[in-house]
Symmetry: C2
Subunit: 298 residues, 2 copies
């Protein structure tokens, strides 16, 4: 049996690891990404290069995208040299970017009109999850498309759940981001409290990570925070985009989520203070000595 | 070797399980609690009853307290019929209540003046952790007192760490509560978002609990929330007390913790709305349909 040919668009922190797993499993892989240098590793390992999304789609049975913002998704899928203008009939197209649920529904409808299968399948688990192929993958779209995608998704993640029709993957990912937003406030405030009270934060972490305060963020980002390591597993600028997508949906649903609103406010301040390209754990900097004033509500 | 005689004060949700483990391990146990009916199970299993804390302390090598509020700790330790008025010289006294760090330091000093060993050793892990003897126990006090207490603490918990001198157990527990506060906002807002967006929240939980949004609260309290089960693992009124203790310390340290302040505000509203005796997961009720208005900031 010949393996389907895969085109992968967007080889940033997450995409690089994810595409690497497909390559390692023996799939013929072509990549495209805005900054070609970011694909060097994959190209050296045997991936092909496409000049644009349309060219990539013309040669692919399956196209996967993992880009930055909904606007990038729109450009890469619907633009003049976009996926839709090159996709082969019957192709399976999967957007794994965290993007707008409304855009996901729009792409699914556009795909259906062209005889293509479309899924939204955003992920959670951060850079570590991507590297270790332990991502949680939240899928929206038709059951038949999901069945076809599952063996590929299983190479990148461990917990793969179809949440419903088009857009439901994105909505589930936003639930995930809402949970992470409050969680990051919790982690940062707890460690700031520990330091402020004169405790040894590393030792505090040992006590609290195994009890009712335990979380992925505390165990995985807590140690980075205490080392002052702001390297991005997940960019502040992308997280801020997600929080705004979630606030938008919440507004439509007439839901008031004050924790989410507070997190958005603080991440916006962090981004404005030069933290846009840091990892989400850099939120802790707003709590460091001298930064406190900027947190006080007017 | 004769096992030391233990006195246990406060047999509520947590204390009942904790004292039960000591009894099961064969320690001679005497109990006292404000509402005698709450000790019935332990008395039937062979525990003795003391008429007041002083009487309990007169017969005990080790006294453990697990009561509600700092005011209760003060009464039980320093009151006319309190532990200090009955304690045998050389006795080991351990307060496992989540209480004020300043009070813990006061008790340690008062104990030292009387030739007693005093530890603050609050716990985390909720009713489940207490039942399964898997609590995290955060200890403050002298190293020698800790060495003597450790075999007993090991019957009630799994992760037992001495965090420093008197009060450091309490401070660490407050770090834990600060982390839980933001975490509960996260869990409630995420599930409210899922429901509002028309997803199946149980299925969403399956997707997000294993990724970067994963937390003890999401996995343990999420399902209770979705069943509408508000039975207390940990009381809202006690959690509110903890959040206020933490805010007090934060103010002294000139730390601004907006997530903690928001959580305190919301739990205060929940308590005022009749939720004081529910479990902390009842915070979700503030996010249910129709409750949204009360959340909007003025």
């Amino acid at each position: 049996m010949t393996l389907p040919t895969i085109g992968f668009i967007g080889t940033g922190v997450m995409g690089n690891s994810m595409a690497g797993h497909l390559l390692a499993a023996g799939y013929p892989l072509t990549v495209y990404t805005r900054t070609r240098g970011k694909a060097d590793g994959l190209l050296q390992r045997g991936a092909g290069w496409a000049e644009n999304p349309a060219a990539l789609a013309r040669a692919a049975d399956v196209v996967i995208t993992m880009v930055g913002y909904p606007a990038d998704v729109r450009e890469v899928w619907l633009g003049a040299e976009g996926i839709f203008s090159g996709a082969k009939e019957g192709a399976l197209l999967i957007d794994m970017t965290t993007s707008s649920p409304a855009l996901a529904r729009e792409l699914a409808a556009a795909g259906e009109a062209r005889g293509l299968m479309v899924l939204d399948a955003p992920v959670s688990g951060g850079d570590i999850g991507a590297k270790e192929a332990r991502l949680s993958i939240m899928v929206g779209g038709a059951a038949a498309a999901f069945a076809r995608a599952e063996p590929l998704l299983a190479l990148m993640g461990k917990n793969i759940v179809r949440q419903g029709g088009p857009g439901c993957g994105q909505l589930t990912k936003l639930c995930n981001q809402v949970a992470i937003a409050g969680g990051m406030l919790a982690v940062c405030e707890s460690l700031a409290f520990a330091r402020g009270a004169g405790l040894e934060p590393e030792r505090v972490l040992r006590s609290i990570e195994s009890g009712a305060a335990g979380s992925w963020g505390l165990s995985n980002l807590g140690p980075r925070i205490l080392r002052g390591d702001w390297a991005p597993g997940f960019f502040v600028k992308h997280f801020l985009k997600d929080l705004r997508l979630a606030l938008e949906v919440a507004r439509e649903e007439k839901l008031t989520l004050p924790g989410l609103a507070l997190a958005e406010e603080m991440y916006a301040r962090l981004a404005a203070d030069g933290g846009a390209d840091d990892g989400t754990q850099a939120l802790f900097r707003l709590y460091e000595k001298g930064a406190g004033d900027s947190l006080r509500r007017k």
